[in-house]
């Protein structure tokens, strides 16, 4: 594993031209250290996805540069990018995105063989990883036969099989129940700490804050301060204090809500 730093400098992404031009990301700078767990949060449309795409070498910035381990990847030719993704990055998705026709073992082994490993070796590596993640009994199951948590663990094994420097996770816990989600979160943290890999997570899930080293708030394409954030007690959404849609003071505590509906519900709860 290379001692990688992923560095984003003054990166901007604009879509469209002229009247329909949209700036998804404005002059964002970000450095990610080895072994770090970074959580990126923000409202929908804040540019989180665009940011993730650029970090993951799936999208080119309009302005600015991205360096991986000192090498400028934002300028690389299209042909070199898949190689970078294959060897340096690991991806984990909200929808798991396992190949439906392959078993758990085959899903992981495939990515290893894409990176050049021979079939036997790829399968062994895959088996090791899956076993480490507690899936020895599920090696030959098709995704449709796996639970959500199991699928995500297969996805994580797949992401790790080529020894990547960085893992990117897009809403990894969104389709999992809370207990399983927490397990996955802890798993991601242990991967970062024990294996020295960077983990970048994009999520709405408040609980991930617990395992993150750094929490970044992206709004309107820029990083904003987290300190002015509050959590809506009813729905768990992060709310900007100053711009909260509704607030309520109760027993000396100021609550911020994402909407009047949540506040109304909160009041109802209090009444009971």
């Amino acid at each position: 594993m290379s001692d990688a730093t992923l560095r984003m400098s003054e990166v901007t992404k604009r879509y469209g031209t002229g009247a329909t031009e949209v700036t998804a990301v404005r002059g964002v700078s970000l450095a990610i250290e080895p072994g770090e767990v970074v959580l990126i949060m923000g409202p929908s449309g804040s540019g989180k996805t665009t940011l993730l795409l650029m970090l993951g070498a799936l999208l080119r910035p309009t302005e600015g540069t991205i360096h991986l381990n000192g090498e400028r990847i934002s300028d690389l030719s299209e042909g070199r990018l898949p190689g970078i993704r294959l060897h340096e990055f690991g991806f984990i998705f909200q929808d798991f995105n396992l190949l439906s026709a392959l078993t758990a073992l085959e899903n992981v082994a495939l990515v290893a063989s894409l990176a050049g490993r021979k079939n036997g070796e790829a399968r062994r590596k895959a088996q090791d990883l899956l076993s480490q993640l507690g899936l020895e009994a599920r090696l030959h199951f098709l995704p449709e036969k796996l639970s959500g948590g199991e699928k995500q663990r297969v996805a994580i094994a797949r992401a790790l099989v080529n020894d990547p420097a960085i893992l990117f996770a897009d809403e990894p816990t969104a389709n999992l129940d809370s207990k399983i989600g927490r397990d996955i979160m802890r798993l991601l943290r242990s991967i970062a700490k024990e294996q020295g890999r960077s983990v970048v997570i994009v999520s709405h899930d408040q609980r991930i804050k617990d395992i993150a080293d750094r929490v970044l708030w992206l709004e309107d394409g820029e990083f904003k301060e987290m300190t002015t954030m509050a959590v809506d007690p009813v729905c768990g959404m992060s709310v900007v204090k100053e711009g909260a849609a509704a607030t309520l003071e109760q027993y000396g505590v100021l609550y911020h809500f994402c909407s009047r509906g949540c506040r109304a519900e909160f009041l109802n709860e209090l009444m009971d």
Binding site: T49, L53, L58, P82, G83, F91, F93, V111, D170
Partner: protein
């Protein structure tokens, strides 16, 4: 990649069935027509090859049996017999005519055999006598069965009643059969004494049939002499020349259809796998990895289609003769080779279609929600 290709292919049974089925059917168009023609070709020469003659002597310029007629003056027979290397000669009379069995009329090649014929008679006797004898006839067993005729019954040939004294096998083709009567009866009925149709020659042991044939042509006036193989080849040639254009047309159509079906199924299945292809690309797979997967799928589909098409054609070969009288299929190696090549072309062409689709696929779409 092979594993992915195979797994993807078999994941959807219906689509697999359609692509394999389509290719199989298209190939069957090619294979079965080829096989029918090939069978006819073979049957057409059957009599000549089984006749027992090494050399066939005919009227000069006549190189065929079917759809031809040959007349030689009877004195040529002795002239041929005198040629060195000739062991025996059997003059036969031949005409395409009708065997009437009750109400049924069957077109048949009537062969008039001399007494004690050394060649030219039935080669696969199923029942009764080989020698028709005076006022007797040996007719094809299949034809007889179809009309409910058996040994001892009477049929009408060249206007006279003959008693069926023998039933032969292998003497029928698609449209007609062979019936054997005595040469004497033949010439009585057909007038024209002093004329024979063909002279069947057996050469002496150790002599070369080709040489004897050449000698006969040189020494006897107004005849054409061909070895058995050459004569049989000429017969097959007629069938082949007649059917070339037809085969070309049908083969072309079958080919086009195979292309269309394969193209359609590969294109469709790639389209439906868009999401998974996007994921693979995001994970770092190259375009060529995906082309390989799609290409392998196409190859396997087509391979299966070829196997199924071939199997069904062979099956037809077993079934058709039972259902349709006097028709069969004979699958030849060149035909299979042709089908195999066509299959490869199907696979390659089909795999080329989705290249643009795959190339254009933006892996970023995986993150944007479907």
């Amino acid at each position: 990649m092979m594993r992915l290709a195979v797994r993807n292919l078999f994941q959807n049974r219906m689509r697999l069935l359609i692509s394999v089925g389509g290719v199989a059917l298209a190939l069957m168009l090619i294979l079965s027509l080829d096989a029918i023609v090939s069978w006819i070709e073979q049957r057409v020469a059957a009599y000549i090859e089984a006749s027992g003659a090494d050399v066939w002597v005919s009227q000069e310029g006549v190189r065929n049996l079917h759809m031809a007629s040959s007349s030689l003056p009877a004195d040529r027979v002795d002239e041929v017999a005198a040629v060195p290397g000739v062991e025996s000669v059997t003059p036969i009379l031949y005409v395409t005519n009708v065997v009437a069995m009750g109400e049924e009329r069957a077109i048949a090649y009537i062969i008039g055999l001399p007494e004690g014929a050394q060649a030219g008679g039935p080669w696969n006797l199923v029942a009764g006598e080989v020698d028709p004898g005076p006022e007797g006839a040996v007719i094809d067993q299949g034809i007889a069965e179809k009309s409910g005729i058996g040994l001892g019954d009477h049929v009408e040939i060249l206007g006279r009643a003959f008693e069926v004294v023998g039933l032969s096998g292998g003497t029928s083709t698609f449209t007609n059969s062979i019936a054997f009567i005595r040469g004497q009866d033949f010439s009585d009925l057909r007038a024209n004494p002093g004329v024979v149709s063909f002279v069947l020659v057996r050469v002496e042991g150790g002599a070369s049939a080709t040489e004897v044939a050449t000698r006969i042509e040189a020494e006897v006036e107004g005849v054409t002499a061909q070895t058995r193989e050459a004569f049989a080849a000429q017969e097959r040639q007629v069938v082949r020349d007649m059917s070339t254009d037809l085969l070309t047309i049908m083969n072309s159509v079958g080919f086009l259809i195979g292309l269309a079906v394969m193209g359609l199924t590969v294109y469709t299945s790639t389209l439906l796998r868009r999401g998974e292809h996007g994921v693979l690309k995001a994970l770092g797979a190259q375009n060529r990895d995906l082309y390989l997967s799609v290409g392998l799928q196409a190859l396997v589909s087509v391979g299966l289609g070829l196997a199924v098409g071939l199997a069904f054609t062979l099956l037809l070969g077993a079934v058709v003769p039972r259902l349709v009288s006097n028709l069969g299929l004979r699958v030849s190696l060149p035909s299979v080779g042709k089908a195999a090549i066509a299959s490869v072309v199907f696979a390659v062409a089909a795999a080329l279609l989705p290249i643009r689709q795959i190339h254009r696929l933006d892996p970023a779409m995986v993150f944007r929600g479907k």
